[in-house]
Amino acid sequence: MKKKGFLAVIIIIFLLGIAGSAVVLLMPSKSHVRITSGGKEVYTADLSAAEDTFFDVPYQGHVNTVEIKDHKIRVKDADCPDQTCVRMGWLNSSAAPIVCLPHKLVIEFTDGEDVDAVTR
């Protein structure tokens, strides 16, 4: 009997995960982005108005190269060992941010209040 309880908990966790994933995936993308590095905001932009560009975000001697192209943003290059942020590709289609955990870099959509630097 006890085992059924555990199984039920597993199924509930699994279903919650699927439901949550669906919610996150269905969240619309926004046009304002913010880049934070080591917990500090280093860059904000309105993607719908941003020019194509790329620039480096340094963190403790390491670098992530961020690229903006066709009103989309991604990490183009990183010198971290796992390259997860590079392989995450363009920030789009969902609310989930691009993160580079080794360099504490986060690129995320924001609501676009007090965007003071449209271009850098």
């Binding site: 006890k2 085992k3 555990f6 199984l7 908990v9 597993i10 966790i13 699994f14 919650l16 995960g17 699927i18 439901a19 949550g20 994933s21 919610v23 996150v24 934070t36 917990g39 971290c80 060992p81 796992d82 997860t84 392989r87 995450m88 590709g89 969902s94 609310a95 989930a96 941010p97 993160v99 955990l101 080794p102 504490k104 986060v106 995320e108």
Partner: protein
């Protein structure tokens, strides 16, 4: 062989095996570029060990695995995340092994995996101070259930074989 040396040797072999699996898994391209998602095949050994060794023995084994794993990948930031994940996972599984018998090992493994992801997430939240990371948590839950079930089933197969071997020898 005295019992102590035997234990030490067994644990060393298990650590080596899990480290090999860990390094081999690094070579498999991960189709899901989301931080924290992976199969975690090395945990087959962890799950097996949880059910066959004392708490501090498993903990020592996992600690050595984690540190040497970080040496091999050169990714010491990742050590912080995996260590907090592994800690929570171990605590959870060591408690669960009282309630879930070895025949249902895979269930314990699923809880272990989900706890591992939870610990990772907590560490990442603390380090990056970014609440938005939580948006990944649902994905981690799904992958944790699947990967945990998979590694758990593998561990169950391994356990069955090893037990049979032991019986044959005796």
């Amino acid at each position: 062989m005295s019992g102590k040396v035997r234990k030490l040797t067994e644990l060393a072999v298990l650590t080596a095996v899990s480290l090999i699996i860990f390094v081999v898994e690094l070579q498999i391209p991960n189709p899901f570029p989301i931080p924290g998602i992976k199969l975690g095949l090395a945990n087959i050994v962890t799950v097996y060990a949880v059910y066959h060794y004392k708490a501090h023995e498993v903990a020592a084994m996992v600690a050595v695995r984690l540190i040497l794993g970080a040496v091999f990948t050169g990714n010491f930031m990742a050590l912080l995340y995996s260590a907090s994940g592994a800690f929570l996972c171990l605590v959870g599984m060591l408690i669960l092994r009282r309630f879930i018998d070895e025949k249902h090992l895979w269930m314990a493994s699923v809880f272990g995996a989900v706890l591992h992801n939870t610990g990772q997430m907590a560490a990442a939240l603390l380090v990056t101070q970014t609440v938005q990371l939580l948006l990944y948590y649902p994905f981690l839950l799904v992958s944790g259930c699947l990967a945990g079930a998979f590694t758990g089933l593998c561990a169950q197969l391994v356990t069955a074989r090893l037990n049979r071997n032991k019986e044959n020898k005796e």
